[in-house]
């Protein structure tokens, strides 16, 4: 007989094992879906997860795709660890892109080493400004940060729409909804000739290192952890909650804003209506799949990035609808949440009684 028993304490091994289990279950379920759709499951999975990264170019594209996801997810982990539910990273990314893009456009006909740092800084500030809205409303007016941050996503997209259609549209562009191309000095340098991977990856790596240090080596990290477990305990311990809430939001906003900078000054090179294919939302999956751990997030961002690339390859070579990529992302999150059950419960095998 099998009995389900509640664990006294969540198991630490299982805490880091469930993401692996979730990915495995996603592969099995994905293979099953391919089979039902009439595709050879192993071949489909090969085109989904191996072919896209089989060469140098493919691998560089994987890193390019994972960079914004990793950067945003690191930022989000500051919020999520401390019980602050910032769902609006997409908006912070967009606003960061708007501010940095605006600065880049000011310098559109100029060259100079000083331009790029200003553009990057502007993006971080944009993200910070935008994240401060839900943070301040939460701390001083007790609003729900989930709703505020989510709604602000749509506001930011409308602002971007307005700017690229109207005042910032390319004067030589027949009024099409896009800005001028940025000057070379406002573009992040490419790391290798012929590949799109750019210096933005160092921003993501720096965020990983800094976050690890903050989480595990600083007083702030400890505060965040305690607040995450129990807000009451944090209050009892005398932590100044408001300061911490605002701080984690600002860090999160800065990371999302920098991800926006990476997109527009990296591969895109201008502002238009679609600077991000919802990286800010997908990064939420990445953050949880990575267990809010900096190293975990690196792996998670690579896994999720590959679902984007794989979906394209699978459509090109096997005519599998590209939207299966989103199905895979959904399944990963679903199986992760489902297998979290194992954190708190365990199966006990009991011999049948005589």
């Amino acid at each position: 007989m099998i009995k389900i028993v509640k664990r006294d304490q969540p198991s630490k091994t299982i805490f880091f094992f469930t993401p692996v289990l979730a990915i495995f279950l996603t592969l099995v379920a994905g293979g099953l879906i391919f089979f039902i759709l009439g595709f050879k499951p192993f071949e489909a999975l090969k085109f989904f997860f191996i072919v896209p990264i089989a060469d140098k170019y493919g691998f560089s594209e994987l890193l390019l795709k994972a960079t914004p996801l990793c950067l945003i997810a690191i930022g989000l982990s500051f919020c999520f660890k401390s019980n602050n539910w910032n769902i609006g990273a997409e908006g912070q990314l967009t606003f960061g892109a708007i501010v940095s893009g605006g600065v880049a456009l000011l310098f559109y006909d100029q060259e100079g080493f000083y331009i790029l740092p200003i553009v990057i800084l502007a993006g971080a500030i944009g993200g910070i400004i935008y994240a401060s809205i839900p943070a301040i409303l939460k701390t001083y007016f007790n609003t729900n940060e989930i709703l505020v941050s989510l709604m602000l996503v749509y506001v930011s997209k409308l602002i971007l729409d307005y700017l690229v259609v109207g005042p910032w549209s390319n004067p030589e562009g027949f009024n099409f909804p896009e800005t001028r191309q940025f000057s070379e000095s406002a573009r992040l340098p490419l790391l290798f000739e012929g590949l799109r991977i750019h210096a933005g990856i160092f921003l993501a790596l720096a965020a990983v290192v800094i976050s690890w240090f903050v989480f595990y080596k600083t007083y702030l990290g400890f505060q965040m952890k305690v607040s995450g477990f129990s807000l009451k305990t944090a209050k009892y311990a005398g932590y100044k909650g408001k300061k911490m809430i605002i701080l984690v939001f600002l860090i999160s906003g800065a990371c999302a804003g920098l991800a926006g900078v990476g997109e527009i000054t990296g591969p895109i090179g201008q502002l238009h209506r679609e600077v991000s294919p919802d990286y800010g939302f997908t990064a939420i999956i990445v953050a949880f799949l990575g267990r809010l751990h900096p190293v975990g997030i690196i792996f998670a961002s690579l896994v999720v990035a590959i679902t984007y690339l794989g979906a394209e390859t699978a459509q090109i070579f096997m005519q599998i609808p590209k939207y299966t990529g989103q199905v895979f992302q959904g399944m990963i999150l679903f199986f992760l949440l489902a297998s979290d059950y194992l954190l708190f419960f365990k199966f006990k095998f009991i011999g049948s009684k005589k």
Partner: protein, 356 residues
């Protein structure tokens, strides 16, 4: 014996020739990049109908749907160029810069970009359709069928393509009914059924009894069906979605062009050009006319269609005035393509301002 030899020699030559042509033809692979899902029953759907025509002509095709205009477009293009495709059609405006960028890296692959204006490399061609000719027909029908003399128009983005459509529609409607007014709602989207339906509803509430659209979903014709007003299908024949409301549709017919261009690659005759085809070349097709239209209107429309096709009638024939009453095109003259390509002012009779 001689005859037999010659005959078999000739026939084997013919056979060899057909085989080679067939082999060359079969070897060319075409790829299509779509902004939306192939099942949108609008823009992407019609491009996919065109792709199927290329398949039917004996060529292999590949497509990738739902490719965002973000940094992802460039990767998809590069992957298609890298995997043995000889010609790649990029079917949305936002692919313009990635198309030109990737074209530079793959000089042996031909790129065809829809609705754009940049041809930075010899292997990039552009193509678009003179949809405004279709809108001349719709305007004629709308001006005749309206009772309230208010015609609604759901527009997407204030770009020349859309402004041109509004103007051509309004001019044609005025010609048959000088009292009409065209009211515009800007949806700022190409495809968003919710927003489009709302826009249509707002126009109906303001008294519009005929709704035209320059967005891609079927939501507007369905809203018109519910409200009991007339509408026109966009991009594909939308009659089955709103049989009472839809009077006719303007269909985007890309197939002939696609087959032509892929064949040109196979024959080695592909060249860079900017194509802008209308009703005459069959790129713009008017669907069947609804029986609710009086027979004299149907006859008039048929004639107008033939005249637009032959070039006897031009959608923008003077005198044309702008909203302030300034002359845009003089009497007896027609607007040239340069003017059409950059058209950013409303003609007289359109209400409101172009959003800036």
């Amino acid at each position: 014996m001689h005859k037999f030899l010659i005959r078999s020699f000739v026939s084997s030559l013919v056979l060899l020739f057909t085989l080679t042509v067939a082999a060359i033809a079969k070897d060319v692979k075409a790829a299509f990049v779509y902004i939306g899902p192939t099942g949108d029953h609008g823009w992407t759907y019609q491009h996919d109908v065109g792709r199927k025509a290329v398949e039917a002509a004996g060529f292999k095709t590949t497509y990738v749907e739902g490719v965002p205009e973000s940094a992802d477009a460039e990767r998809v293009l590069r992957q298609l160029a890298n995997s043995g495709h000889d010609i790649i059609f990029t079917t949305s405006f936002g692919y313009m810069n990635p198309t030109n960028k990737v074209a530079k890296e793959f000089p042996n692959v031909k790129f065809e970009h829809a609705t754009g204006y940049k041809r930075e490399h010899p292997n990039v061609a552009t193509y678009a359709a003179r949809f405004y000719e279709g809108r001349t027909i719709l305007g004629t029908i709308a001006g005749t069928m309206t009772k309230s003399n208010v015609i609604g128009y759901v527009a997407s983005f204030p770009i020349p393509e859309v402004i041109r459509g509004i103007n051509s529609f309004t001019l044609a409607a005025q010609k048959v009914n000088p009292n009409i007014k065209t009211k515009i709602v800007w949806a700022f989207t190409w495809y968003d059924p919710g927003k489009e339906a709302e826009a249509a509803k707002a126009l109906i509430d303001q008294g519009a009894d005929v709704i035209a659209q320059h967005t891609d979903s079927t939501a507007i014709v369905q809203m018109a069906e519910k409200a009991g007003v007339y509408a026109f299908g966009q991009a594909s024949d939308m009659d089955k979605f709103a049989p009472k409301a839809v009077l006719t549709s303007v269909e985007n017919n890309w197939g002939p062009y696609y087959v032509d261009r892929v064949k040109a690659v196979a024959n080695g005759t592909w060249n860079q050009k900017d194509t802008w085809h209308g009703i005459g070349d069959g790129m713009v097709v008017i669907s069947g006319l609804d029986s609710q239209m009086p027979s004299d209107l149907q006859a008039k429309v048929k004639k107008l269609q033939a005249d637009l096709a032959s070039g006897k009638v031009h959608s923008f024939t003077g005198p044309i005035y702008d909203q302030k009453g300034n002359l845009m095109v003089a009497e007896g003259k027609t607007a040239d393509d340069g003017m059409l390509a950059g058209m950013m002012t409303y003609v007289k009779g359109v209400e409101g301002d172009i959003p800036k």
